[in-house]
C-alpha cells in the first residue's frame, strides 16, 4: 500500500488491517504464559504485541547484532530449538523465552601483546579443555555454525580454522547457555578471529602500494581542483560520473584513466 493511498483514507485502512489481524490470532507461550498474537509476526514483534517492551535483548532487528537469542519449543516435540527473536516468525503453540545475555567468562587481554600462537587461546581460556564434544553448542547455534568443530580446531591449535568456521558468529551466546563444560565459545571465537585477522592473515600487498601512491601525491592535484569547484558544478560532476556497471568483468576500466 502506497503512502498516497493511506493519506486518502486512513480510517478505512486501519479498519481493514485490524480485521485482517483479528482473523488470524494464534496462541503462543511467552515464559510460560499464554498470549494470542497475530500470525506472521516475528517472535520479537509478537512479544511487543503481547505487551513486552525491550530495553535490552533487542538491537538491530535485522538478524545481525545477536542481541535477541531465543530458545523455543514446539508442541509435541521435546527438542529445544533456537532462533533470533527478530528473525523467527511465531508458530501456533510455541513455547519461548529469550536468553538475551549469558554471564559467560570473557577474558581480558591487551590485544597488541598477543602473538599468533595457539597458546594465546590456551592461556586466556584454559576451560577450553573442558569440552566433551557433546555438540549441544552446534545444535544451539541460530547461525548454523559448526561450533563444536570450531572448538575442536582451537584445541588443536588451529586458530585459522576456528576463525573460518566461526565467521558467521554474531555473539548471541546461545552456545554457552547450553554448554556442558561451561565454555564461552563465542568469546573464544572472537579472540580467534581477532588473532587471525590481525596476526595470521597475510596483509594485502596492493593496499600498502596504494597508500604509498597516495602519500606520494598522485591524487593531490585532482583533489585540489575539486575543492575549488562550485557546488552546482560539483553536483553535476557527481551525477555524470562514470560508474562501474553492475556486471562488469575484472578487466573493466573507466574511459578516463588519468587517475588509475
Amino acid at each position: 500500500m502506497s503512502v498516497k493511498e493511506e493519506k486518502k483514507n486512513p480510517a478505512e485502512t486501519a479498519v481493514k488491517e485490524k480485521k485482517q489481524i483479528a482473523a488470524k490470532l494464534i496462541p503462543i507461550y511467552i515464559m510460560g504464559k499464554r498470549y494470542e498474537v497475530p500470525e506472521g509476526l516475528t517472535i520479537m514483534k509478537a512479544m511487543e504485541y503481547a505487551g513486552y517492551r525491550f530495553i535490552r535483548g533487542c538491537g538491530c532487528r535485522g538478524g545481525t547484532c545477536g542481541a535477541c537469542g531465543t530458545v523455543y519449543r514446539k508442541p509435541g516435540d521435546y527438542k529445544l530449538q533456537v532462533a533470533l527473536a527478530c528473525q523467527k516468525t511465531v508458530e501456533p503453540g510455541m513455547y519461548m523465552a529469550q536468553i538475551p545475555f549469558f554471564p559467560a567468562n570473557r577474558a581480558q587481554y591487551e590485544f597488541t601483546d598477543l602473538t599468533s600462537t595457539p597458546e594465546e587461546v590456551f592461556k586466556l581460556y584454559p576451560e577450553l579443555f573442558r569440552c566433551v564434544a557433546c555438540n549441544a553448542c552446534t545444535k544451539a547455534c541460530p547461525q548454523g555454525i559448526e561450533v563444536m568443530d570450531a572448538i575442536a580446531a582451537l584445541k588443536q591449535g588451529n586458530i585459522a580454522e576456528a576463525a573460518r568456521l566461526s565467521f558467521d558468529c554474531i555473539q548471541c551466546g546461545l552456545c554457552t547457555s547450553r554448554c556442558f563444560g561451561e565454555l564461552a565459545q563465542y568469546h573464544m571465537f572472537q579472540l580467534a578471529r581477532r588473532i587471525y585477522g590481525a596476526k595470521i592473515l597475510p596483509r594485502a600487498e596492493h593496499l600498502a602500494e596504494m597508500i604509498g601512491t597516495i602519500n606520494e601525491g598522485r591524487y593531490d592535484q585532482i583533489l585540489d581542483e575539486l575543492k575549488h569547484v562550485k557546488e552546482d558544478e560539483l553536483k553535476k560532476l557527481y551525477q555524470e560520473r562514470e560508474s562501474e556497471p553492475m556486471a562488469a568483468g575484472e578487466d573493466w576500466k573507466p574511459e578516463d584513466t588519468r587517475y588509475l
Partner: protein
C-alpha cells in the same frame, strides 16, 4: 592409623554410591596390599590405596574426605592389572572423586593453573587434568 568403626559413623549412602558409580564389588578385596605395592604414588599418599578400599566399604566417608589419596591417584591402573581379585580400584578412586566434583566443587580450577603453565602444558595434560579435577 586407628579409626573408630560404629554404626553411627557408617555412611550407607556413601557406600551405595561408590558401588554404583564404580560398578565394583567392594567385598572382593581381601586386603593383600598388591595395589599399594604396585602404586607408584603410595609414598605420596596419606592413606594407601588398600586403606582407601577398607575405609570405603566401612562407609567412613569423613576419613576419605580428609585424605588426599584419591586426588594423588593418576589413574595409571597399576593397581587394576595387579589385583589378584579382579577388583578395579581405579574405578573406585574415580567414583570417590566424582562424589565431590558432582557437587560443583572443583579440586583444581583452570584459573589456578598459571598462565605460563597453560602455554607450556601439552593439551592432553589440560584435558585430562580438567576431566579428573573439575566437575
Amino acid at each position: 592409623m586407628s579409626v573408630t568403626i560404629s554404626p553411627k559413623r557408617l555412611r550407607r549412602e556413601f557406600v551405595r554410591k561408590v558401588k554404583e558409580l564404580s560398578g565394583q564389588n567392594l567385598q572382593l578385596c581381601y586386603q593383600c596390599g598388591m595395589c599399594s605395592g604396585n602404586c607408584p604414588a603410595t609414598s605420596n599418599m596419606d592413606l594407601s590405596p588398600r586403606q582407601i578400599i577398607e575405609l570405603a566399604r566401612l562407609g567412613l566417608e569423613e576419613e576419605i574426605a580428609n585424605s588426599k589419596t584419591v586426588w594423588i591417584c593418576a589413574s595409571c591402573l597399576a593397581c587394576t592389572v595387579n589385583c589378584p581379585r579382579g577388583f578395579d580400584l581405579s574405578k573406585m578412586m574415580e567414583a570417590i572423586r566424582l562424589l565431590t566434583l558432582r557437587k560443583n566443587i572443583d579440586y583444581i580450577r583452570p584459573e589456578d593453573i598459571s598462565p605460563q603453565e597453560r602455554c607450556e602444558l601439552p593439551q592432553i595434560a589440560m584435558v585430562s587434568g580438567l576431566r579428573k579435577f573439575t566437575g
